[in-house]
Amino acid sequence: MNPFHLLRRKRDLSDEVESHLNMAAADYIARGKSPADAKKLAMREFGNVPLVVDVTRERWGWMRMERLTQDVRYALRTLGRDRAFTFVAVLILALGIGANVVVFSVVNTILLRPLPFYQPQNLVWIAPVPGTEGLSGYAYSVDALEDLQRMNRSYVDVTAYNNFTTADNLKLTGHGEPQPVTGIPVAGNFFDVLGVTPELGRVFTADETRSGGSAVLLSHAFWNRQFGGDRSLVGKTIRLDGSPLTVVGVMPETFDFGAVFSPGFKVDVYTAQNMEDIRSNGNTLRLIARLKPGVTLAQAQGEALALFPKFYWSKKVAASQGVYKGRDRNHLVFLKDHVSGALRQSLLVLWWAVGLILLIVCVNISNLLLARATARSKEFALRMSLGAGRARLVRQALTESLVLSGAGALLGLIFAYAATRWLAHQGSIALPLLNHVRVDGAVLGWTLMITVAVALVFGLVQGWKMSGGNLPDSLKDSGPGASGGRRYERLRGALVISEMALACVLLVGAGLLLRSFLQVMEVNLGFQASHAMSMRLDYDTHGPPIQQRAAFLQDVLQRVSAIPGVEAAGIADNLPLLRNRGWAAPKLKGKTDKDGDDPGSSVYMTTPGYFEAMGMHLHGRDFGWSDTTKSEPVTILNQKAAEALFPGDDAVGHAVVMAGKEVTIVGVVANVRDINVERASGWQTYLPISQDWDTSGAQLVLRSKLRAAVLAPSVIATVRQINPTQPAFAMRPMQEAVEHATSPRRFFAVLVGIFAGLGLLLASLGIYGVISYSVSLQTQEIGIRMALGATRERVQMGVIAKALGLALIGAAIGIVASFAVSDAIRSLLFATQPMDPVTFAGMTVLLLGVAFVAGYLPARRASRIDPMTALRGHS
């Protein structure tokens, strides 16, 4: 509908009427009337001009639209007149809607949207049921992958990626000083199975997969950062860890390996995994398969149960057939469930929480509108008596609500846009796909939906209430002293109570989640993360003989320890919470493995000084540089392993068998939370690097009061004295790893906490509004009471008691509702009871405290009423 077209038609109509009148007048003049008389007669003959114009325009069928624009204009005018109200209402709406939009965009990205792959609903994640045995427990051997590829009937294809990658695991040379690069080796068919095509160039060929190591694909971000988006790079050679690799392609920006498979992990390059290199390394691959069309997950699972027991851990070890037996060792889930399944409940809780916020916002706005309605009831009564229908008034109220919530939604969207952009750049929060969070079409649709829903809720309440009044009463009702002003007080009281109850539920929920988070932060990790930091050393695991490599590490540690500020230094190949490996657990001499009773053990290769640098409590002795391949093989176990092997006895001095070798236990260290902060530790075994175990890399660990960034340059310079090719690997505080591991819990706890705070604020605004309004209505009454001898304190107490009364009823209802809610979030809690009395009591006190403040402000005003002024008039 074009408003200009409408305008033209209106002018056309008035022209038409005018020409009619002119002609009629001309006729009268022709019959001898004076021009003035002729005009009057013509008008009389024509009838009521505005009425004719109105009725004619109605024939055009556009009246509905016209009324709407009229309503909108009227709404804008009334809202514009009441600036303070409009400002507060729009702000509250913007906060409520904005918070909902942000949460929806997160929920949409992680839970609702399909994964950014081709037909992602057919992708299956094959993994053991998570246990305590660490990363190796999640993985499969090359022989198992190849057998599965050959023997299955369920899949289009099966692919894999290497499980043992850490940040900065490669160094790029030939472009200035050596650069740390994060690469992940993937099976050659990885991108084909996912159905991802490169932005530039091609993916790996079968040939490159077999020979391995000669082709590399770059991530979009790395290509831009390191090579300035140079399109001619494809086909050229770059040097990674000394070997020349041909850049065959660049992956598109939308493909982010870390976002899906390892949240918070940025991958720079993808290399083709040479399977022969890792064939004897055991469980190193994580499997993804694409189901054939028509094959269900249950069918594939059935096949897996039959197939996996036939696979070998290594075909060279005949006895290793059957290690993947049992449902626990081959569990199939859709890839989507693997990525976001664990977060589903947290996200749903978050969604509920913002839903409650929106409800509180609705109640709050209704409350504000009702306060205005009292003032406006005369206006509405007047309009009704002038002939406005009840439906028209309700529609007018609805239009006003829509204008309000629309304005709130616009502001909320701006806020949500900023918030989602910020979230998308939070690499440190370990939530999958978080970098894909944005305001998109679905989010806009959701915004529109809640905007209309919100407007309907408070618009209908208000329209109904206002237009339902008694006409003569409303017209008579004048001024705040009269009884009519209290018409809505009961309803407003009920609204405030429900606000309080909702806020109470939010507070208790947030309290439980925050307490759980604090409990997680209190967990004894087994090492002192503060003041510990780590940096990767450029160290060739398979290079020169062990004596030479050990000497290199000893030299590094000696020099680094001499740096001022370094209190202790040590080296390990894996670090807790960053990377780990699992082997079969150490056994007592003479014991063989019965099927399935191997608890498994994390294994760390370390140098002397590691435990001190990590701040781990050690009983017995540390490894020494005198522990060599020529001396007695030694090991250090964690308490859990030691107690399980030698219950009630000191393990130190005993011998166990590890990987077929007899080793003597020289020490027992604290249990380290190495895989998951929230799950109890499993067995942990430490072996000296100097006794030539299968070491994978070297992480330098330092203990120092200096900050990592301050220490890093001198450490790198020192290491470069011995090894000039040491890249500028980042020095990372161990605390960062802890924070990364706990970041999802922190994310949810903080968000729910913010929402609870918002809910509390809104609810207290509600109480404040109702109480201060009732004080202004009671000015005269209070004046009379004070004149009759009521003290200021008494007046004050009366008002506060009223506020607390509302809050108490609300809190009581809220507490009852919270029992149900806390039970529903039971599985999200950590070391916190759903009925945690501290949380419940604390939150109730907080709620009542805030209600007290909200009641105190109007109470103080009430007590300052001057009886004389109050009695004299309406002021």
């Binding site: 109509l13 020409s19 009629a24 003959e45 024939r59 055009w60």
Partner: protein, 70 residues
């Protein structure tokens, strides 16, 4: 009857495209809007007229029958 009541009717007819309008000069050299029946309007008129005739005929029949019977 007031002449003004013509306009709602005219505009409704125009909306149904049974008549079309045009601004022209009248004989007295005044700008005026001229309405003209369209082909569609003629069809409609014919069918309405037919219905009207049938209605009149039916009523006529009923009335004569009644009169005849009384």
């Amino acid at each position: 009857m007031e002449t003004g009541s013509l306009y709602p009717a005219l505009h409704r007819l125009e909306r149904q495209r049974w008549v079309k309008s045009e601004w022209k000069k009248s004989e007295s050299n005044q700008r005026a809007k001229f309405y003209k029946i369209t082909a569609r309007g003629k069809e409609q008129l014919a069918s309405d007229y037919q219905r009207w005739s049938r209605l009149v005929a039916t009523i006529e029949n009923i009335m004569t029958a009644k009169r005849g019977g009384a």
